[in-house]
């Protein structure tokens, strides 16, 4: 018999599909229900220090400033492009002129750093847990999936028991008439019936 046509294999394959769909629905459903807007996957946040910023700071003119406190999630990459002619510092990132500095924010914490172009000269950086990242959501599916599949398989077998493989065989691949020996009408059945049924009740 073909491997894929075996009833148990089919049952497991169908249970896998249902189980994964259920796990996906639970994981994504709870993620979207609980997401308050601060939970997101880590990403790259790019900031540009335009040319002439240091000059404007020195002259007391306004510069494109950032919010004094910035919120990131763990794993975010803060990328600062310095297009000015002098070096700049944005929190933990020091960038030489005409270069780019980047830092992966890898620790949940609240920092306060110096900043060369903030009006207050200080910058607060709040690094939060990403909550449910894509990785953790996939992990949730991996954790929910197998037990769900196992439960569906067991439940399915209890509710709709598997038919014996031979019965399925006969149904799907009927034997040729010559292979079946039926007793002649009126003849003794002792040779053709199973021993347990010979003159007795089966159950």
């Amino acid at each position: 018999m073909n491997f894929w046509d075996h009833p148990l294999v089919r049952r497991i394959a169908i249970s896998c599909m249902i189980g994964i769909t259920v796990a996906l629905a639970i994981s994504e459903g709870s993620y979207h229900l609980l997401n308050d807007g601060t939970r997101r996957d880590p990403q790259t946040i790019e900031l540009i220090i335009p040319a002439g910023t240091a000059e404007r700071v020195a002259a007391g003119k306004s510069v494109p400033s950032l919010p004094a406190n910035m919120t990131f999630v763990e794993g975010d990459v803060l990328l600062v492009k310095n297009q000015d002619v002098t070096d700049h510092q944005l929190g933990p990132i020091w960038v030489p002129p005409d270069s780019t500095g980047s830092l992966t924010l890898g620790e949940v914490n609240r920092f306060r750093f110096g900043c060369s172009f903030q009006p207050g000269r200080y910058l607060g950086i709040d690094v939060r847990s990403p909550g449910s990242s894509l990785q953790s959501r996939l992990l949730a599916i991996v954790l929910i999936g197998p037990p769900t599949i196992a439960l569906i398989v067991v439940y399915g077998i209890l509710v709709i028991p598997l038919k014996p493989a031979s019965a399925t065989d006969t149904r799907s691949h009927p034997l040729p008439a010559s292979a079946v020996t039926l007793p002649e009408p009126g003849s003794a059945v002792s040779d053709t019936l199973p021993h347990s049924l010979n003159g007795k009740t089966a159950l």
Binding site: P92, W94, V95, P96, T100, G101, G106
Partner: protein, 202 residues
Amino acid sequence: MTGKILRWGLALLSVVLVALGGLGILFQPYRFRGSLIDPPVPATDFTLVDQHNQRFRLSEQRGNVVVMAFGYTLCPDVCPATLAEFKQIRRLLGRQAEQVRFVFITVDPERDTPARMGEYMQAFDDSFRGLSGDMAELERAWQGFGVYHEKQFLDSAAGYLVDHTARIYVVDVHGNLRLTFPFGTATQDMFEDIQYLTRERI
């Protein structure tokens, strides 16, 4: 027959995808813990003298990773902590430390003579290079690495303290300024980044 081929094909595809995913996780590019300068910029060259009155020129260190900090010997807090971290990183590097130069450059040249630097380095590790020297060269180094320093006069025996940049700079084997570590970066993180850079070849 077609259905059988399709099923086995899908099974094979799944195995290949899982294997590729696993390989992708294994061979992810190294993620630096420090602040990465990309593209790296050539480090400002300078020539200073160390505690043994030996000349130290930054551009002559190519082939080695140079780890630099700016400070002064009478610093009450940041500098001893930084040099203690240097010592720990050096210990963690083991034999690879031979490819790393640990450099401490003064921001207080009036008081940090080579002799004083020698005593100070002795307290941590004599292989560290404590640099002072010509004011013009020091200015060049300070400016090239964006080092802030300002004297704070006190009514005490110390005379004055110097507020200064507490950042650590890493110059790679090609002589490029590659990484900086803000003060407070975990020693283990700095060690891993420096160790990664020592594996690069010219």
